[in-house]
């Protein structure tokens, strides 16, 4: 290759230009995607006067953490000046059990649908799959009714149940496809070794499910953390999740719009999902690929 380069300078030149053009285009896209994040971050560190003075893109003249502190612990949310902190905790209390339970149940479903097949298992799977395609809005009223009957209306456990039920379709799909490629001989060997239904699951299948667990957890965490509709519909004062609180923060008017506080609040709301992606993003891609090739 280096030989052809030296013997043919025009071709080499053209290659360099094409490469430069490619990087230029990519750079434009990078800026395009990162600009909103940049604007949010920069302005969250500015005093309000500086924002009102114009130029959203400029770096702060005076760096201040006040907007962050305000957004976290003292900003007006609805009628209470609590900041986002209690709602952040609400969201954690909702997301952790919802993600854990839906992932575990999805794994058990996938295990049964592939390794303990019963007559009509295909139909059952098709029906679970159908749950993935039901729009959120359709289930609102029936769900409200069910939560009322169960006495869970307006509570965090109620929200956990909603997200668990809604997420089960996806988690089952993920695990079923992953376990379909899992050798059945291993299950049979474990049965002959005397392992029962749950021992096979805990000792053989689950320890080999790393990639698909990561995919499912990321998927479920992002969806449940970012959910607004269920939170807005089913939460009470003491169970409002982060997303709804952020909306309330932005819409609570006390005269002035505190853009810097709003920006800081928005970044706070997005932070957990960002962290999850940064930490396990490469497993996510790997897991999706594994599913694509094998499943």
């Amino acid at each position: 290759m280096s030989q052809s380069n030296s013997s043919n300078p025009t071709a080499a030149n053209r290659r360099v230009w094409l490469r430069a053009l490619l990087y230029a285009v990519l750079l434009v896209f990078v800026v395009y995607y990162l600009l909103p994040l940049y604007v949010m971050l920069v302005n969250s560190f500015k005093p309000l006067e500086e924002i009102r003075g114009g130029n959203m893109l400029a770096l702060p003249h005076i760096w201040t953490f006040e907007p962050w502190k305000a957004a976290w612990s003292s900003a007006q949310i609805g009628v209470q000046p609590t900041g986002l902190k209690p709602y952040f905790i609400n969201s954690i209390m909702m997301v952790v059990p919802a993600v854990t339970l839906s992932t575990l149940l999805g794994a058990v479903n996938g295990y049964v649908l592939t390794k303990w097949q019963f007559p009509g298992h295909g139909l059952v799977f098709a029906m679970i799959l159908l749950a993935c395609f039901i729009p959120f809005q359709i289930v609102l009223i029936p769900m409200a009714r069910v939560l009322g009957i169960l006495g869970l209306a307006g509570s965090t456990p109620g929200l956990v149940l909603v997200h668990l039920v809604y997420g089960l379709g996806f988690t089952t799909l993920f695990f079923r496809n992953y376990y379909a490629a899992f050798p059945t001989e291993l299950v049979r060997a474990a049965q002959m070794d005397g392992a029962n239904f749950f021992q096979v699951f805990w000792r053989i299948l689950l320890p080999s499910s790393g990639p698909i667990i990561v995919v499912t957890v990321i998927w479920q965490f992002t969806n449940i953390w970012n959910d607004f509709l269920f939170g807005a519909s089913f939460a009470d004062f003491d169970s409002i999740p982060m997303t709804v609180a952020l909306n309330n923060l932005v819409n609570s008017s006390t005269g002035v719009k505190e853009y810097n506080v709003h920006f800081a609040g928005a970044v706070l709301a997005a932070l957990p999902t960002l962290i999850v992606y940064v930490v396990s993003g490469r497993y996510f891609v790997r897991g999706l690929m594994a599913g694509a090739v094998k499943g």
Partner: protein, 371 residues
Amino acid sequence: MASLKLQNIRKQYNKLEVLKGIDIEIEDGGFLVLVGPSGCGKSTLLNCIAGLEDISSGDIMIGEKSVVDLHPSQRDIAMVFQSYALYPNMNVEQNIAFGMEMRGIAKPEREAAIARVAETLQITELLKRKPSQLSGGQRQRVAMGRALVRDPQVFLFDEPLSNLDAKLRVDMRTEIKKLHQTMGTTIVYVTHDQIEALTLATKIAVLKFGELQQFGTPKQIYDQPNNLFVAEFMGSPSMNLMRARIIEAEGTLTAHVATGQGATLVLPLHGFEALNAHKGTEVILGLRPEAITDEASASGQDQSKVLLQSCQINVVEPAGSDTFVTTSLGGKEVIARLGADAVVSAGESMPLAFNMAKAVFFDPSSEQRIA
């Protein structure tokens, strides 16, 4: 250790019958090989013995006890799977210990058992490795270790050598045979490789389409195949089958086979009284390649039953220890097995010695052996 008895085993999937009444009995310490082409039901039969699949009717006895209603783990059997089925998340030691752990055996006992088995199979230095860090042969050993550690009544092997390369397969075959000789445990072994079947078995069951074609010792299967299918399936190269006419001349029976050159090969039949019923009809004559040989190699055989006849040689295939040549007989290519030093080239004629002591005869329509 125990005997194994299969009584009229039937297995149906909806309307499809995959096992059609199998009766097999293997004595304590025997080595039973189930052999047949793909889809003959041999693996299904093994899974039924293991309890991984239910039978539709019939009975399975291990020792004097029926095990049909028992869970696989209660049948006192151990199985080596085709893919080895080693648990990927556990190391070798944990793999071997898993069954004992499930049965609630105390840790010191488990460790002693692992050490003993690892010693037998020479895998002691591999105990801490994961299956992914093992070669094919090592995985095979670990899979056998997992079965051995149970010290079961019956071992089940499901095509255990089919994932190994040719050289390793021969080594492991010898090792399995050695293991059987030292342990003396009853073994049921599934394979589609007829050489494995002949070398390992004390009893062979040949299956086709879910039906038992023949059950007997390797020698019976090889020398007296029940029908054309068994004759062709067992042995490599397979048995030569040629059309022959039974004719009585001067008080003795003879079989007439057309040679490629328009001549007729007349083979004397001594001791084939059963063929009297087929005088004048066409039958199928089966002769193993080693029953057609050169004059020097035939010198040790019963000369009264050996006939020399000149045949035109079409192809010569030297195989090191033997030389295989083909000639045309009864409208078919026939393979003869000559000594390694036989001097012959394609297109020549040479005298071939036909050893009729080893001949078998089949009815062309029913395909069953008649003599």
